[in-house]
Symmetry: C2
């Protein structure tokens, strides 16, 4: 389309029109029409559930340095011994009965409001990397400019339904202030839903203040507008930072994803079933706590699993064991009737090469088929999460588009059956001119922006470029053509004032 | 392991020992312990089956330039009008009742004999490319040396269960003679099962003569030792070359894979359901013909589907529509109770970059979960099948190993549950020293030979290599360390004599 534009002399304006049309086309979630892929039978699931209850009852979960959690859980019927909380068999399930099976996460543009849970899949960019990588500069620390760039690129990617959270760490801004710029960037440069800060309870409070400015103080008590990432400190521990942030969000009816963060073999047993047992116990304990804070506050069952290399101690991605963990955990979450977060384009590779793509594809396919509802890390992830890749983002976002087509399944309508075309063409001819082909060819098959399907000769003539080199041409063009969604100037002003005031209140801090 | 070897001064001999141990470890097929992933419900399947019968009955299939097929099919109850064969509704299913639901393909080393069908998956290298590519030479025409190299590399790859067929086209040998060298190479440089020549009926006969020398003339009438690839000339046509080769194999109780070869949109309707309908009709017609030749001869339901780019006319791979075709066709094959062939590491990319890996992974994952029994093109495929890549082969073979782990599912034995480890470690500690970890760490998680999971700094220090560059070090080392499996010198002599005689009988021919 861009090429067409140039030919017609449309240039930048034609490209912008195409991009705007992409933005307009963005659906707010995928509604799957194909079954889940399930690897565990009912007996195996019941066994893991039984064992998780054993962990909760006998071993217990530590809630560290956060006394209010201990008293809430004690009141709810848990057995509290110092910071160790043991849950009598069945208590967590009982507490989780108040958690919604799905919830709407509202966006400032109501067309972008999404639903988390049920048969829906929401694709979200990668989260948390201190570095960025691109073809021109290589790897360097991320800045707020990079952060804004990834918010803009996500805004322009029809396959990504959610703006994400810490799309990269803007290390050029002090740690205790950068959350303000991050939240503002999500609000200002996109109109898709986003995630809140979790690195300290007061930063969660700042995030809540900002959404109050954006949506109204009373409104957010009714509407969930944030879904934020609360990692467990596996094994079997929650710390005060995460508990504090989670508490702020839950008190304000904002969603939290309780995510055991597991490098299996180090932070969980060196087996898939053992790891699933621990994940279920940790997630149930954390989500139960949220229900004690505010019954009915949305929670998401989270899972992040890497298999540790038992030879080098390094985390690995895209292997079969983490895939089995995702399949199994998705089943366990469905049996709790709760939304599930996992997956994405995870890889250990430092660059967007064949290793990166194989590992990412294995995780993306698994997550799509397993029925992940909130697919964090869908685009951009490199190097075990240490780097956010510009070209990797573009390549992954193309795959995100394909996931929507895959989950849409097979059209068996009369048009899909195409018996007329079979009758029209018959043996030995070709279908290019068939009436059915003419009617359907524009939308029939997914068209990748990144794949080079040309002949070898043409590819060679065009410079023998690999996927990374082609992607390196796409994202700068997208950023050049980017135009921000409109925002109420009064709201924008109020947000900026709030940020200035908060920044002035504190000395810079690097933790 | 290789590095360990060098340190101990073991060098080549240590590496050879490791490779031999790889060879010894080769299992002869994967027996899946997880369910199939199925995208179509019974109603949709019945609809496609009904429509396929409509195609068979109303439109019919052409059997071209091969009169004996027409008379056989007529005798079986088909309606033959010139070369158009129409099958009354239900006739194909009736004829297919004699086809075995699974069969053993014997190898000259009985430990490598494999079973095609049922819950088993057999992984097979790529097939048919006239070019090879490697990091050092780039792309060039393939030779018989390349052919031998890929047979050897497959022999040394524990995740590949089958030696394949035309692993590349040895274009340095005349077309009418190269099949002799190809079949000989499979026999001499490997002891895994392999495929026969299909490019002319007399070449199929030569293949049969050679397996008679290897296994005995009477033995092969009882034992299937070849599985050969018979493409339909889609849409709805079989040609004399393929019919002739198929007939030779079927008459000798050797297996054929009847594979509609579809670039959807050109050779089938531009829809998944329409394409599935045509595939089912073509496969049923071809397999029914085989059952007319020799009731009980093993047949495999084949599917090769690419979605044509409706913009450029180029074949595309790894997209969602071909995946849906594979899922659907596997279900249709299972409902016929017949083995199914499809899939592999298909891609359009010219080099083993992120495009190649994403496309290949999407097809491999799909094929594994769909329940493909004979997974042709598992390793090496590049450029829509025009090139066989040395580095791509190594990267894909690593993925083949992972598929075996994935299909093995989740171990829920007491050891798998690891409750003891959870009790031993508890909150906040790590599992590295746990008794369970110590017992299981060597086999717990799949260990990739290609993935670089090291730190960024270490990766940079080692030259910032991508997956292709790392793979480029592996295959030459494998070939240096390769040692051929033993063969009876008398058999070897007889095979060589047969080849010399046949080569002398014909002038060189390039078709």
């Amino acid at each position: 389309m861009a090429r067409e534009g140039r030919k017609r002399g449309g240039g930048r304006s034609a490209r912008i029109a195409a991009r705007q049309s992409n933005v307009a086309q963005t659906i707010s979630f995928i509604e799957r029409k194909i079954p889940y892929f399930e690897v565990l039978n009912d007996e195996a699931l019941a066994l893991i559930e039984y064992n998780a209850e054993t962990v909760l009852e006998e071993i217990g979960i530590e809630f560290r340095d956060y006394p209010s959690a201990l008293s809430l859980l004690k009141n709810a019927g848990a057995d509290v011994d110092n910071e160790r909380v043991r849950f009598p068999r069945g208590l967590c399930r009982q507490l989780l009965a108040t958690a919604p099976s799905e919830y709407t996460q509202h966006a400032r543009n109501s067309k972008r409001s999404t639903i988390i849970g049920g048969d829906r899949t929401v694709l979200v960019p990668a989260y948390g990397s201190p570095f960025i990588r691109n073809a021109e500069e290589g790897r360097r620390y991320a800045t707020i400019e990079d952060f804004k760039n990834f918010v803009k690129l996500t805004y322009l990617s029809p396959g990504l339904h959610h703006s994400g959270g810490t799309v990269c760490e803007p290390v050029d801004i002090p740690v205790n202030k950068r959350h303000l710029d991050m939240v503002y960037s999500h609000i200002r440069y996109s109109d898709k839903p986003f995630m809140g800060s979790v690195t300290a309870p007061e930063r969660a409070e700042d995030t809540v203040e900002m959404i109050k400015i954006l949506f109204g103080s009373n409104e957010i008590q009714e509407k969930t507008v944030l879904t934020s990432l609360i990692n467990a400190n596996s094994p079997m521990t929650f710390d005060a930072t995460m508990l504090g942030a989670a508490t702020v969000y839950a008190e304000n009816n904002q969603a939290t994803m309780i995510s055991p963060f597991i490098l299996a073999g180090a932070m969980s047993p060196v087996s898939v079933a053992g790891t699933l047992t621990q994940i279920l116990a940790e997630a149930m304990a954390g989500m139960s706590y949220i229900q004690c804070v505010r019954p009915g506050a949305p929670v998401v069952f989270g899972t992040f699993a890497s298999a540790l290399s038992m030879q080098s101690g390094a985390p690995t991605f895209g292997g079969p064991e983490p895939s089995l963990v995702i399949y199994g955990a998705a089943q366990l979450a469905r049996r709790l009737n709760l939304p599930f977060r996992s997956g994405g384009g995870l890889c250990a590779s430092k660059i967007p090469d064949a290793q990166a793509a194989y590992e990412s594809a294995n995780t993306l396919q698994t997550s799509a088929l397993a029925g992940v509802n909130f697919m964090l890390h869908t685009a951009g992830w490199l190097e075990g999460g240490l780097s956010m890749g510009y070209e990797k983002f573009i390549i992954d976002a193309d795959q995100a588009n394909m996931i929507a087509v895959l989950l849409n399944g097979i059209d068996t309508s009369e048009n899909g059956q195409a018996l007329g075309a079979l009758r029209e063409i018959g043996p030995g001819a070709h279908f290019l001119g068939a009436a059915h082909t003419q009617t359907n060819f524009e939308t029939a098959f997914y068209r990748s922006e990144i794949a080079d399907n040309n002949s070898f000769e043409q590819w060679e003539e065009e410079g023998s470029r690999d996927a990374m080199q082609r992607a390196a041409e796409i994202w700068p063009r997208m950023l050049r053509d980017y135009e921000p969604p409109a925002i109420d100037p009064g709201v924008d002003e109020a947000l900026r004032e709030f940020i200035s005031r908060r920044k002035a209140e504190f000395p810079d801090k690097d933790y």
